[in-house]
């Protein structure tokens, strides 16, 4: 039996045992609907509000500024459509490398008559703040720029962009799904008005996320129904999930700083080991301004899915930069936006480390990855000729 090494933490994480323990009562005796007035409902409501407080404390914001949703995608939709809905028309600024939850929401709004500017990024994946300033129009109603990209991990200059947004009085939304609980986010210093964040990226359960909505920001609701979440998000709250989310955040608040240092060192050792052993490999993303556990590499003359399969057969879970759908493989739009040449971009592999990864895990991957790349390259006509 191979060793099993999970290196796909930007996709999802294993729920922390303390989180599971915190959730269990809410499947049992505390099963009530948080909107019910009886004691069963009040017990559920109590769990919900403790979680809201845990998250508000972590973000250093008011409890009433935190709304729960079903996932990062819903949070992004609510933030962008929520602001757009109050204006009816206008201009939105975003970047070319946003998550599809933002990109496709913006594209939908374009189809409804809104104008959208998709800012390019530099070769490290950074949005240039001056480009944000230049893109602002008199009718700009929202700036939405992610905090860090899930594929390459580059951390955007949120503070500089937020300062520009604040100077011009434009709401600033940040998709922080990949950074929340991993690196510090100072909402005040960054000038952030809306922040999307998710549970399952930080050892909480799937199906629960949040949106910070700064007091005074005008929004319309996107999902209509009951008066949950201060009328901002209708639908019975996922109480057990939210309780787990709160617990996950509480754990991150005590582990985040030391874990960021440990994962950065482990990631750097991984990269140093790969480039010492494998020729024709390049790092994607900013060399230092990057998520602690994220390592995105391109192996020239190799298609990324063959590495993903080869590593999978060795018990190692990583993700491919290019995705094959119905036989149509597109290189990652993020790498394309960063100007990575096509023959490199097709061989991109993302390894994202997390709390259970050890030095021994990296040693194991460094033992199995180089011969795999060499073997696949030997098959490739491009590498031979």
């Amino acid at each position: 039996m191979n060793r099993r090494v999970y290196l796909d933490h930007n996709a999802s994480t294993q729920v922390h045992p303390e989180v599971v323990a915190a959730m269990l009562p809410y499947f049992g005796e505390r099963f009530g609907n948080a909107s019910s007035v009886h004691s069963f409902g009040r017990e559920a409501r109590e769990g919900l509000e403790i979680a809201r407080e845990q998250i508000a404390d972590f973000l250093r914001v008011g409890k009433e500024e935190v709304a729960f949703t079903s996932g990062g995608t819903e949070s992004d939709n609510l933030a962008i459509k929520g602001v757009a809905g109050t204006r009816g028309a206008g201009h939105i600024i975003t970047s070319e490398i946003e998550h599809h939850a933002v990109l496709r929401t913006c594209q939908f709004l374009e189809s409804q008559g809104f104008a959208v500017t998709y800012l390019p990024v530099d070769s490290d994946g950074l949005v240039v703040p001056d480009a944000v300033r230049s893109a602002i129009r008199p009718d700009t109603i929202l700036i939405t720029i992610m905090h860090a990209n899930s594929e390459v991990g580059t951390i955007q200059p949120a503070e500089a962009i937020g300062r520009i947004a604040r100077e011009r009085g434009i709401p600033f939304h940040v998709d922080a799904v990949q950074t929340f609980g991993k690196i510090p986010i100072d909402l005040e210093a960054f000038g952030i008005d809306l922040l999307s964040f998710s549970s399952h990226k930080i050892y909480g359960p799937k199906g629960v996320a949040g949106l910070y909505i700064r007091k005074g920001i005008k929004m319309v609701s996107v999902q209509h129904g009951g008066e949950h979440e201060r009328r901002r998000r209708a639908g019975t709250e996922n109480v057990s999930g939210i309780v787990g989310f709160g617990k996950a955040v509480e754990i991150r608040s005590r582990e985040m700083d030391t874990e960021a240092v440990r994962l950065t060192a482990l990631r750097n050792r991984f990269w140093d080991g790969v480039r010492a052993r494998v020729p024709e490999v390049r790092l994607n993303g900013h060399p230092t301004r990057r998520l602690p556990g994220t390592l995105n590499m391109c192996f020239r003359h190799v298609e990324s899915e063959s590495i993903v399969l080869g590593l999978d057969l060795k018990g190692v879970g990583v993700s491919a930069g290019s995705a094959c759908t119905s036989g149509n493989v597109e290189p990652s739009y993020v790498l394309v936006a960063m100007g990575v040449p096509l023959d490199w971009a097709m061989g991109s592999v993302r390894a994202t480390l997390g709390r259970e990864n050890t030095d021994e895990d990296i040693d194991y991957v460094l033992a199995v990855l180089p011969p795999l790349v060499e073997r696949i390259r030997k098959l490739s006509p491009a590498a031979v000729s």
């Binding site: 094959c324 149509n328 098959l379 490739s380």
Partner: protein, 132 residues
């Protein structure tokens, strides 16, 4: 994605991988959708494939299908290879998911192209290398 044991075996231990010097027939096929490429080389004796080699750039299924396709070609009459189908390759590799059918498509296409190349060389005027 779930792949058959046969496919995994071919991916792990590809048969007949590599290039061939001075082949009697060579052919390749690509899939525009993803840039996958398969190239097959044939050595022919008495109208039959005496040796076959392949080079492939692509995902795991394309590598595995190339290996399985090479086994299909080995020992066969070259004229038979002209009708080698995508289905033949799919069966030889133990099945392919719908999203990976292109693997069999380019492997069958490359083997047919290599067979056509051999036959066109044989029918070409003198001066070309003949192995039959």
């Amino acid at each position: 994605m779930n792949y058959s044991e046969t496919l995994i075996d071919h991916f792990r231990n590809p048969r007949n991988a590599g290039m061939m010097r001075d082949p009697d027939g060579v052919g390749e096929d690509t899939f525009d959708g993803c840039g996958d490429l398969a190239r097959f080389y044939l050595r022919v004796v008495d109208g039959r494939v005496d040796d076959v080699r392949f080079q492939t750039y692509g995902c795991g299924p394309t590598i595995a299908a190339s290996s399985a396709g090479s086994e299909l070609a080995a020992g066969r009459a070259v004229s038979d290879l002209l009708s080698l189908s995508e289905q033949d390759v799919i069966a030889a590799v133990g099945g392919l998911p719908d999203e990976r059918l292109h693997a069999a498509q380019i492997v069958a296409g490359a083997i047919r192209a290599a067979a056509r190349d051999f036959l066109s060389r044989r029918s070409a005027p003198s001066g070309m290398k003949q192995h039959v």
